[in-house]
């Protein structure tokens, strides 16, 4: 774990960034926010790529910036690895040349080269020039290059945003593997929640240059007052459950969640393992009585813990607790009124599907 203490104030025209936080980076700190929220600005300040009038950045025991003491460590001395939206490979060098450029300037213990290359699956690309690579390949090379510089902190600036939709799915396992294998504290900027629920453990939500929320992904996802995590497609929660068995015939996995059993499809995990599953708010329904004769298999006793109604929207958000874990539910305001839900009311949560969040 690494501690990143920041106290930053940067003015850019009518936009200003103002953040004072101590960020504990266990594995991956996700930074979420709409366009113009200051995500890239923050990352560039961490890298030292932009000037700043006033601020402090401390990473672990080193001070990278302290305007009061006149300290500014330039980017090439910060020992960071950065991956930009556009891969920014050196066009005059081969893929291998790009990796060597990083390795030759790395300070401290190098990561094993063959492991980096195989983790990103770029063995076959080494002799090629960046020009001929696809978007996904470029980002893999850029990530490998960043790793070859033996960084103490990885800064990823929407590494998937310039990659075609289809390739994003392909890139995720590589990112996952890099995070799991090399254990480098990472700050991951994204403007969609999908990547972050799969990769990040902590989430910092930026809004108009200010910190709107900070906490574990699980906590932040169920904050009903955060528009950044409330979109129709993305609103979700993460629950942890234990795998009990697989039914090969029906291709379903049974899990237990506080004594309740849950069955989901598409899970790959050993019995006994804890899995984090992401449940979309639109995939959960609420019933006042235990329903009978229904195709939904997962019916969990729950208690309503919070209700948020936005009069301008046809939908309402409800939070229920299932064995101490928060589950986010999206329903119409009409249903909410019809059910007459109130806080601490016992109900049943009906789960349609869920996807795995991370191991």
């Amino acid at each position: 774990m690494a501690v990143l203490r920041i106290d930053l104030e940067k003015n850019l025209g009518d936009f200003s960034l103002q953040i004072t936080q101590a960020l504990n980076i266990h594995t991956v700190l996700g930074v979420l926010g709409n366009n113009g929220a200051g995500k890239t600005t923050l990352l560039r300040l961490l890298a030292g790529l932009d000037p700043i009038e006033r601020g402090v950045i401390e990473f672990g025991n080193s001070t990278w910036l302290d305007s009061n003491r006149g300290i500014f460590v330039p980017p090439h001395k910060r020992r960071i690895g950065m991956v930009f939206q556009d891969a920014r490979l050196f066009p005059h060098l081969t893929v291998e040349g790009n990796l060597n450029f990083a390795a030759d300037r790395a300070a401290g213990q190098l990561l094993p080269r063959t492991e980096v290359i195989s983790a990103l699956g770029i063995e076959g690309l080494l002799p090629r020039t960046p020009e001929g690579l696809s978007g996904g390949e470029r980002q893999r090379v850029a990530l490998a290059r960043a790793l070859m510089s033996a960084p103490q902190l990885l800064l990823l600036d929407e590494p998937l945003s310039a990659v075609d939709m289809g390739y994003r799915v392909e890139l995720m396992p590589y990112l996952r593997r890099v995070i799991d294998r090399f254990h480098i504290p990472t700050v991951y900027v994204a403007h969609t929640l999908d990547e972050l629920t799969q990769l990040a453990d902590q989430l910092l939500v930026l809004r108009e240059g200010r910190c709107a929320a900070l906490g574990s992904v699980t906590e932040v996802l169920v904050q009903l007052d955060l528009p950044e995590v409330a979109s129709r497609e993305q609103a979700s929660s993460i629950i942890t459950a234990q795998v009990t068995s697989h039914d090969l015939d029906y291709q379903l996995t049974s899990l237990t969640l506080g004594g309740q059993s849950l069955s989901l499809s598409g899970l790959v995990a050993m019995p006994g393992a804890d899995v984090r599953v992401r449940v979309f708010a639109t995939d959960v329904a609420i019933a006042l009585l235990k329903p009978e004769g229904i195709s939904i298999r997962n019916v969990l006793p729950a208690v309503v813990t919070a209700i948020r109604v936005d009069g301008a929207s046809p939908f309402a958000d409800v939070l229920v607790a299932v064995d101490g874990q928060s589950l986010r539910v999206r329903m119409t305001r009409a249903s909410l009124d019809e059910l007459n839900l109130t806080e601490s009311q016992p109900v049943f949560a009906l789960l349609k599907t869920a996807s795995i969040a991370s191991d």
Partner: protein, 227 residues
């Protein structure tokens, strides 16, 4: 047939030396022109570009005055070395450097400007210092600009005539370059050697340009595209 090989050699020395000096000199100048935000940069650019539009005799005339051993830089040089700048090879080199300066700065400045700042930022985050980035990223990515600059300066110096005549005169082995020798051959109705010298120059220039274009095509990765 009387071919003035000495003039050929002298011309090659002059053009070669001018090219080397200018590539070195133009590098910091072009970098500064490409990156400075100062409002008066336009004045400097206009000043450097003057040789592009001024008649060579005008430049030659002012240089003649500056180089004169009686006063100014010419006097300083004379007191330092005991040699006058006018009608000397050194004077020719200095004049050529001034005369061909825009042919060096403009392509290099263009190449510097087209190196994407994104690529340089990536270099910085990978641990490359500013100087390291310049030599390992900016220079290789600007090689087409350097090639163009070298060829233009060399060719421009090769064809220098008016300036040479004004400040250099026609001293064999010292200031008599090929263009002057050619002029003299024509003046003295020595058409045979004029033909030969002109043909050699023509063939040489063509071959140089041919090589440059071929090399340019080979180096045709997209410059500074940030791939």
């Amino acid at each position: 047939m009387n071919i003035d090989w000495q003039a050929f050699l002298l011309t090659a020395q002059l053009a070669g030396l001018t090219t080397v000096i200018l590539l070195v000199l133009a590098t910091p100048l072009a970098w500064w022109l490409a990156h400075s935000q100062r409002p008066w940069i336009g004045w400097v650019e206009a000043l450097i570009a003057l040789p592009l539009v001024l008649p060579p005799t005008v430049i030659g005339f002012y240089l003649l005055l500056l180089f004169a051993p009686e006063s100014g830089p010419g006097a300083w040089w004379f007191s330092l070395t005991g040699e006058p700048l006018n009608f000397s090879f050194t004077g020719l080199v200095i004049a050529s450097v001034i005369y061909s300066l825009p042919f060096a700065t403009q392509p290099i400045q263009g190449a510097f400007s087209s190196v994407s700042s994104g690529v340089l930022e990536a270099g910085a985050t990978l641990g490359a210092s500013p100087l390291d980035r310049f030599f390992r990223l900016v220079l290789p990515l600007s090689r087409r600009g350097y090639l163009t600059a070298a060829v233009l300066v060399f060719a421009h110096t090769l064809g220098e005539f008016g300036v040479v005549l004004m400040i250099g005169g026609n001293i064999p082995g010292e200031t008599r370059v090929i263009s002057v020798a050619l002029y003299e051959a024509v003046e003295t109705l020595n058409y045979g050697s004029a033909h030969t010298m002109a043909a050699i120059l023509l063939a040489f220039s063509f071959v140089v340009l041919l090589v440059v274009y071929a090399l340019n095509r080979r180096f045709s990765f997209r410059l500074g595209s940030g791939v």
